[in-house]
């Protein structure tokens, strides 16, 4: 274990790799941690590759989002306080989840228009809500908003006036 591949430079990336190795170990997973430079100079992309990674993802992605948040804090601290944005993925989870959320958003928009009423989606993490809002922002026939308090905050899709 601890087979991490780090192609991003700097103490932030090293801290992300070290921490992720400890989490993979803590969860008892057989997995490889890959840490590479993100789209921006200061961004860090981290991904965990392996099988049976559902503990790392958690229900509705709550664990991977919690971990991504902590890794951002940890990387920024390792860089002496200059902000590092960390994106964490596990076995292609982000792309699969985004596709599923976009399909869900599309279906909710159709139902809202067809029945002329509000459609309330299940509670989601802020990351997932953002994907749904973005998926529908260019659809003039519906508007979206969020309601409720975390972690029960959810999206309402309603027909446009």
């Amino acid at each position: 274990m601890g087979a991490s591949e780090v192609t991003a430079e700097g103490p932030g990336a090293a801290a992300v790799a070290r921490t992720l190795d400890a989490v993979v170990e803590g969860m008892g997973l057989e997995a490889t941690v890959v840490v590479s430079p993100g789209p921006d100079d200061t961004d860090i992309d981290a991904t965990v590759e392996g099988e049976g990674l559902s503990p790392l993802i958690g229900r509705g992605g709550e664990t991977i989002d919690a971990l991504q948040y902590l890794l951002g804090q940890i990387a920024s601290r390792a860089e002496g306080g200059s902000r590092r944005r960390v994106s964490l993925d596990a076995d292609g989870y982000r792309a699969r989840r985004a596709a599923a959320l976009e399909a869900l958003a599309d279906q909710a928009a159709r139902e809202a228009v067809e029945h002329g009423e509000e459609i309330e989606l299940d509670a989601m993490t802020p990351h997932d809500r953002r994907i749904v809002h973005m998926a529908l922002k260019d659809r003039p026939e519906v508007v979206t908003r969020s309601e409720g308090e975390e972690p029960r905050r959810r999206i309402i899709v309603e027909p446009a006036e």
Binding site: A15, R18, T19, A22, V23, E25, G26, M27, G28, L29, P55, L56, G58, E62, T63, A66, L67, Y69, L70, Q73, I74, R77, A78
Partner: protein, 84 residues
């Protein structure tokens, strides 16, 4: 409560906490078992308490979410206490 062998869960909590604080050498993790549940106690320097709790408790909440996933994956129960 009785002392338990330090588990990979404690090691994980320690690694996360050391990354979050200004004084990683002062991070200590103790573990006891309370029946079926491991009680993991996290000690940090007083000045670092805010770093492991976070604004509105966000960091502590994230630590607990991760610990819950890890303990469930191991078929165990564990709770995290941040000792102030």
């Amino acid at each position: 409560m009785s002392p338990a062998d330090p588990s990979p869960l404690s090691a994980m909590v320690g690694a996360l906490a050391r990354g979050l604080v200004d004084n990683p050498e002062q991070v200590e993790v103790k573990e006891e078992s309370d029946g079926e549940t491991r009680v993991i106690s996290l000690y940090v320097a007083e000045t670092d308490l805010g770093q492991v709790i976070g604004r509105g408790g966000r960091v502590a909440r994230a630590l607990r979410v991760i610990l819950r996933s890890a303990s469930t994956a191991r078929g165990e129960r564990a709770t995290l206490e941040i000792v102030d």
